[in-house]
Symmetry: C2
Subunit: 576 residues, 2 copies
Amino acid sequence: MNQILRIDTNQKGFSYSEADDSLAIMGGRALTSKIVMDEVPPTCHPLSADNKLVIAPGLLSGTTAANSGRLSVGSKSPLTGGIKESNAGGLVSQKLARMGIKAIILEGKPEGDEYSLIHITKDGVKFLPADDLVGMTNSEVITTLWDRFGEKVGVACIGPAGEQRLTGASIQFADPKGNPGRAAGRGGLGAVMGSKKIKAMVIDDKGCERVKPADKEAFSALAKKWAKLLTSHPVSGQGLPALGTAILVNVINEAGAMPTKNFRTGRFDKVENISGELMAELIEKRGGIIKEGCHPGCVIKCSQAYHDKNGDYLTSGFEYETIWAFGAHCLIDDLDAIAEMDRLCDDIGVDTIDTGVAIGIAMEGGLIEWGDKDAAIDLVKKIKTGDPMGKIIGNGAAFTGQALGVDRIPVVKKQALPAYDPRAVKGVGVTYATTPMGADHTAGYSVCQNILKVGGDVDPLKKEGNVEISKNLQVATAVLDAAGLCIFVAFPVLDSDDGFGMIVDMINARFGIKMTADDVIAMGIDTLKTEKAFNKAAGFTKHDDRLPAMFNENLGPHNVTWDITDDELDSTLDFE
Amino acid sequence: MNQILRIDTNQKGFSYSEADDSLAIMGGRALTSKIVMDEVPPTCHPLSADNKLVIAPGLLSGTTAANSGRLSVGSKSPLTGGIKESNAGGLVSQKLARMGIKAIILEGKPEGDEYSLIHITKDGVKFLPADDLVGMTNSEVITTLWDRFGEKVGVACIGPAGEQRLTGASIQFADPKGNPGRAAGRGGLGAVMGSKKIKAMVIDDKGCERVKPADKEAFSALAKKWAKLLTSHPVSGQGLPALGTAILVNVINEAGAMPTKNFRTGRFDKVENISGELMAELIEKRGGIIKEGCHPGCVIKCSQAYHDKNGDYLTSGFEYETIWAFGAHCLIDDLDAIAEMDRLCDDIGVDTIDTGVAIGIAMEGGLIEWGDKDAAIDLVKKIKTGDPMGKIIGNGAAFTGQALGVDRIPVVKKQALPAYDPRAVKGVGVTYATTPMGADHTAGYSVCQNILKVGGDVDPLKKEGNVEISKNLQVATAVLDAAGLCIFVAFPVLDSDDGFGMIVDMINARFGIKMTADDVIAMGIDTLKTEKAFNKAAGFTKHDDRLPAMFNENLGPHNVTWDITDDELDSTLDFE
């Protein structure tokens, strides 16, 4: 029940091996980062046979612990050139855990151009031809595979963008309803899967038993307490279920931290047309679904089904960051247009953040007009067809900036900055600069303390305290990502005395071990150290831990600039 | 007579200042690299107002010394992200020297979109509107400006590629006949000029006196001896005048070092259709010109006028590296087609090496067929129009590789490898990897000792001795680039006992100083140290001093691999 599944994409073979002791209590991101560090040459080309794609459920995945079904996907990133863990919901994590698979490692690269479908059951791995799937959108792939293998199988797949090996390409996962709205979106991991000529993986746990914790009774009691903790906090129990992450549209805009027109100001004057409140209103009016989980066992349910004007399903997993990227960043104030682009991204298989930021860069470069939603939608559609302009946008914001000769490009380690202006949410700015992942809000989401005042109260506009909260959050997030827990459990955990202890206790009860809280924190730190070591060996230096010069500009309405010093940034994750 | 001319492209102003003592005996590349290091923030965006474009004649430019009219153009490179000196012929270097200008520094960046023409005379600098020039090819620009300002003025200009700020964009210079065949081609410096909204610069030295050496008589005697040295060597006196650098087509192919089909083998089976011998035959038959200098005072005359089938002028400065890039690299064996692409590159203003290698990468990526000359020509033409596919190709080989998801991309520091396979000319391989410029044969041209057996005899297929010759050549080249001397003077200098002494003596006679040979060598070493320091401060590490993994493959016909170790590479320019 502790298996590493190696799949050789060149020979179309596979092998199981028992995970060795050093990996015993590693899961999720801790495990993917360890394996990538141990097995991938840091200077290899990310699309070469030397790179690997590692897929690992969290330590708690497959159990009854609420919100423990998140999956980690690790590799050397084609976008950043560094290590990457991209985290997704869907059905795969829990199924892998039930199948006793700690990690799948996709290795090698076939010589030819033919794509395969990988079918994984308790009886082994089959390579099936995927000719019929090639060129399909992710919706089409999932529909086809659920028709063929049943409506309960886990599916991981790539769309046309992954087939084109674009550095914005995502890996999409079927959600519980069979929509492709869950993504390992960031860092271009869909291009790695595409380079290995795998169009989709079906994970079918039929015949496998539920995960049995070592200490079943203790676990059961803890899981109940844990679910109650999550549902009783105002953010995870009320705000997120009511409006999804889109609740942040008004919150972040009010805070003056909503990057508008390519980070020129912190407030969007047409915010009411893209707010979470409006989203909820439209969902209700059109017969959509206000709250859904991204995986079974989720009690927060920040996802939704957003229907179009005709009442037909349009998209799900419609996140604040997506609304921002295609919205305020591009001066587009039409929620339906943004939802259409979200759906297009899920279907074509590209990261909504890097793609939305790239569209804004196309506006910055004069290719299309600011706020022109039709032109924006056309550009996103071009990614599907292999059109050269689509290839430019589909390779992300940094690439689009170079293509168009733009020098105002909001990226760190070539990954686009998400929806929080670093000058007005300084803890997140520290995270953008210093996480080994490239600009990534989820790596250390200081919006908690900076804006929501969860787990503390640190002024978002001043530098004081922000290095500290980013550091602590980055360590804690590495733990959550190892456990397979949704990042939003952080809200109740940070606001309670025993939340973190519950996580530790659940891991102990699951595996019959006795880790202390310090041991678990050490695991988070070790993960970050491993990731930094990989990046260093890949050629990264402290110069890569910087925001671009555009953030030296003043940001309204609070008239703030980026004033965290280089030394402060270098101290953030300095664990030596 | 020792002026630094600063031109503020934002305010459209200028100022002269006397060069301070530290710059007194610096010229060419020594000076451009020093100024870039002193004045450009290493981590700035190359297209931002913080970057500068520095143009400097060599120490001997403007004198009667043969082949001393080369110009250095320095900047932070938009292509590599590191320091760049790109070296060109044409008329500008000697004119600047006669005007007493040691360096022009283009600073800042205008807010608006309007291009200017900069007109420099002994009376000062004028910013003139360039609306009429925008969109023009370099041929058209030069023709227009010679019509307007007389047929003797020096012209530096950018084509549509520079206007688009593509990282493959060159700065082209009018040659003595008014053709745009001379280029500061490598590293995307045309994009820097484009970002500063300068379409062209006219340098008119009317009314300026000839350069008067401090010791006129000594200089005059030395210059005679120097010209004789150049004309009496078999390579610079016979081979290059007879066939241009295209003489190398057969030579390098025979050596098994002609990279064919994106570096898959070292010999091209249709080499006879692209040889220098064929070129000379066609030029003669069609009424072209076999030998021309790229600047007045050149006695080697490796340039030419290559006419098309109708006997009309097609191109000049038709180099071996260009013939290789569009030829053997792409499996195109039609010299007229290659000449057409050379002309297109000069006119559109892109580097022929990076563009040709990019075309081969487009073939590698399946966009067009190997050897399809018509499709290749179409792709090059697209760079002119702003077509997205043109933007991809025009951003060079590394960018094209990312756009198309190719993992076999022959670049170092993102700059495309030129026409010598590093496995079969190992000294050049060491240069590619270690020069601060990105893959650049001219930075340490060990083809001398490896193939031509000039200045020594070092086996090109074995590692022994190749680090040493690359190092020595890189230092010597830095000296030549500081002096404003053509790199081909190296052939006679390396093969004579007193050639280097003559260069030292000419510098001394020119300035009335008493440098020793060691002083001059120290200047070369200092230049390299400066350049490495800039790159380090820009975030480069030793990982950037490596060839890509594709060179671990075996190369036929000699069955060789790249076996220079990382330590050997790191020792090459380790002057501490």
